[in-house]
């Protein structure tokens, strides 16, 4: 009856009733429910009081301390700093434009109907354009040293360029690891295992400290470039294993059919095997990328000011001492939203790419 009057409401109440009934089916279940409720009662009201009721949304540090709750005014004050870092104030439109282009490109790349040659071409144009926009020195833009880049901008740059540079390398390594040629297989395996077997920060240390030692005298590599070298290498090694999984999942018949058609190795891989192997592993690729995206925070150990490090640096402002929790909660929120969105996206793709259910 109520279904005809207000369609969404009964759905909710019925669901709530089913939920509630499932909570009380037997003594053990009731005990578990009570324990959960007790936990919520213990945690939620104080958290709510801190985060919302007693919180200060705008004002000064003194007002924050007086109110006693969370100081979101601090996050508000430092918001743009956490996005752009120390990039010169009057030039901030450049990283802002870069972020807009980046977001647009990423969103477009998530649409399956755009997955074609044009998208690759667009990336090939956009990627260098974004870097030039940031660095300046052309078209009358004032040069800005990478030392002054920071914040969410640099997190985005490391993640996107690391993936863009690491992905082709990953495919090569994966093919190499499955190759018939013994030496090629050994080298690929050695690179993958050595990179995956050591902590990620040791690669960053290597890039930061050891790389300059191995370059010819007089050649210096920018610090951001060094970070990108390390990040590309570990993106490649981790992605290579995902791609290898896809290559192994291909039925033998596909390889044999391609051979029977007389395709060369290059054509066989490019036209038959890789398109299928990459497609079925897209969900795992996204999951690997989520892990790698979270790992961009590791650049803190060699002093690159990514989003999180910039926020931590903001904690040192003498006018705003003593609000680390707010900064960390804000940072966690931003990473959570981005990573959770990606993982939901990968789950959606999983339903479309699950083999045997197409």
């Amino acid at each position: 009856m109520s279904a005809t009057l207000a369609p969404p409401a009964p759905g909710f109440f019925t669901r709530a009733a089913i939920f509630a009934r499932a909570c009380v089916t037997g003594p053990l279940n009731i005990a578990i429910t009570l324990a959960c409720v007790a936990l919520l009662v213990w945690l939620v009201p104080p958290l709510l009081r801190w985060a919302v009721l007693d919180a200060t949304w705008s004002g000064t540090a003194a007002q924050c301390r007086e109110a006693g709750g969370a100081c979101w005014a601090f996050v508000r004050e430092k918001f743009w700093f956490s996005i752009f870092g120390l990039y010169p104030y009057e030039e901030r439109w450049r990283p802002a434009t870069m972020i807009v282009i980046l977001v647009a490109m990423v969103l477009a790349s998530c649409q399956r109907r755009f997955w074609n040659r044009w998208l690759m071409l667009a990336w090939a144009v956009a990627a260098p354009a974004m870097l030039l926009l940031m660095a300046g020195g052309v078209l009358g833009l004032t040069p800005v040293a990478t030392r002054q880049w920071g914040g969410l901008t640099i997190t985005g740059i490391i993640a996107v360029y690391g993936l863009a540079l690491g992905y082709p390398l990953a495919i090569l390594l994966a093919l190499g690891r499955r190759s018939d040629l013994t030496l090629v297989r050994w080298f690929s395996t050695a690179i993958i295992e050595c990179v995956r077997g050591v902590p990620l920060i040791s690669l960053l240390f290597m890039a930061a400290i050891m790389l300059p030692l191995f370059l010819p005298e007089g050649v210096t590599l920018d610090r951001l470039a060094r970070v990108l070298v390390a990040y590309t290498l570990f993106t490649a090694a981790y992605m290579a294993e995902v791609v290898r999984g896809g290559l192994q999942a291909m039925p033998r018949g596909q390889y044999e059919a391609a051979d029977a058609l007389g395709l060369s190795y290059g054509k066989k891989m490019r036209l038959v095997i890789l398109p299928q192997a990459l497609a079925i592993t897209i969900p795992s690729q996204v999951n690997t990328f989520i892990g790698l995206f979270k790992d961009t925070t590791l650049v803190v150990v060699i002093g690159v000011f990514d989003f999180f490090t910039t926020l931590r640096a903001a904690l040192g402002d003498p006018n705003w001492l003593g609000f680390p929790t707010e900064a960390y909660v804000f940072a966690a929120g931003v990473y959570f939203v981005l990573c959770f969105a990606m993982s939901r996206y990968s789950q959606r793709l999983e339903t479309t790419f699950r083999p045997g259910q197409r």
Binding site: I32, D180, L181, C194, P199, F214, T296, F308, A332, F336
Partner: protein, 401 residues
């Protein structure tokens, strides 16, 4: 030498000429050999160029390659050391201290994250929707935020704890303060060793009994209880040891002056790192456990129920053995991840291997040597862990004909 083949049109071709070329592996072709030769030349050339550069650069900085610096006095003050250490000791010893600190946090972390992860994984499969929702929310939040952030968060939280004098005392004998965590400690004396020995003997006895009874059941079908005699051994032997040698003493931490005395002290850095690693990794372990259990075909628990097995037996005899096969390989990589992630200790100042290596590099400039040492150590740790887990894996793997 492969030139005896007239042409090598494609990889895998040239079967006809094989008899003349049986030193080469199956499918070897001129093109394949050429590619490998090119690769070898490129890699060797690159290596030669890099080593040459490094030699020139090190000479320019007055450094020479070698591990001699390990014998020099390090002068690094290290707050936490499991073996005696002073700043006057050598770099080799400082690095050993770092390695032991890494192992300590990794081993304790692996044990705790397994326990917590299994509990969370089972909670997420509970029939209670409230518990399921809470666990799910917790796992999603933990999995989708960076570990570095979590470590720094836990560290900041610990530093906000009250001073030593107002230390929190959530459990008897456990004190939380800015200086870290104090817990009761067992005093190392003969009574403790005797009791631990008796405990181990009891456990081995139970295991032997279990093996014998299992063999008997397989041979005769007769099932005899093992729990009571097993428990009797496990608890009885230590009780006997306590009667004979006296109970091991527990040292309780007590506030004396400005700090605690007695008991076991966990520094804020160690504790923050441990909590961070355990919380982070357990969320991943929970998902592995859940997917492992869900991978068991629905008919299996139904069949177990139809046979009249109790829920406990169903879990222990039917579901878990099958789930384990799915669980163990990814679990191994989580344990390895935890060990590798312990290197993030450098962010909160716990003196692990990487942190001490970093200081050593800054002091000596011997970057290549130190990085080579700790990379070799981590590779060895990875290999040992996966070797142990592979043994276990082959023990539980499906035995097929």
């Amino acid at each position: 030498m492969a030139g005896v083949e007239p042409t090598a049109p494609a990889i895998g071709a040239g079967r006809a000429g094989r008899s003349a070329l049986n030193i080469l592996p199956r499918g070897a072709s001129l093109r394949g050999i050429l590619w490998q030769a090119v690769l070898l030349v490129v890699v060797l050339g690159l290596g030669w160029w890099l080593v040459g550069n490094a030699e020139r650069n090190m000479a320019a900085r007055g450094l020479s390659f070698g591990f001699g610096f390990l014998e020099r006095s390090a002068g690094i003050p290290i707050g936490e050391h499991m073996i005696p250490y002073t700043p006057a000791d050598t770099y080799a010893r400082a690095l050993t201290v770092g390695l032991l600190n890494t192992l300590r946090v990794a081993i304790v972390g692996i044990l705790l994250c397994t326990v917590l992860g299994v509990a969370l994984g089972l909670a997420r499969l509970s029939s209670n929707p409230l518990l399921r929702a809470l666990t799910g929310g917790y796992i999603e939040v933990i999995r989708n935020t960076p570990l570095v952030l979590q470590l720094v968060f836990w560290h900041a939280l610990l530093l906000q704890l009250p001073s030593v004098r107002q230390a929190l005392n959530p459990l008897p004998g456990v004190f939380l303060s800015q200086r870290g965590v104090k817990i009761p400690a067992l005093v190392a004396e003969p009574a403790l060793y005797w009791m631990l020995g008796a405990l181990a003997a009891g456990a081995i006895g139970w295991w032997l009994l279990l093996r014998r009874e299992r063999a008997r059941q397989a041979a005769t079908g007769e099932r005899r209880p093992t729990i009571l005699p097993g428990l009797a051994m496990l608890l009885g032997l230590p009780a006997l040891s306590m009667l004979a040698m006296g109970a091991p003493r527990v040292e309780w931490p007590e506030l004396a002056g400005f700090n605690f005395e007695g008991g076991l002290a966990l520094s804020p850095e160690f504790f923050a790192l441990l909590v961070g690693l355990v919380v982070y990794t357990s969320a991943f372990v929970a998902e592995i456990v859940r997917s492992g259990i869900q991978s068991v075909h629905k008919g299996q628990p139904e069949a177990a129920q139809a046979l009249g097995l109790t829920p406990g037996q169903k879990m222990r005899l039917v579901i878990l053995p099958q789930a384990m096969r799915v669980i163990i390989p990814p679990m191994t990589s989580q344990f390895l991840n935890l060990t590798k992630n312990s290197s993030l200790a450098v962010v909160i100042g716990y003196p692990d291997l990487v942190s001490i290596s970093n200081t050593s590099i800054n002091q000596t400039g011997q970057a290549i040597e130190v990085i080579a040492i700790f990379m070799a150590v981590y590779l060895a740790l990875s290999l040992i862990t996966s070797l142990l887990m592979n043994f276990y894996n082959s023990a539980v793997a499906l035995k097929e004909r």
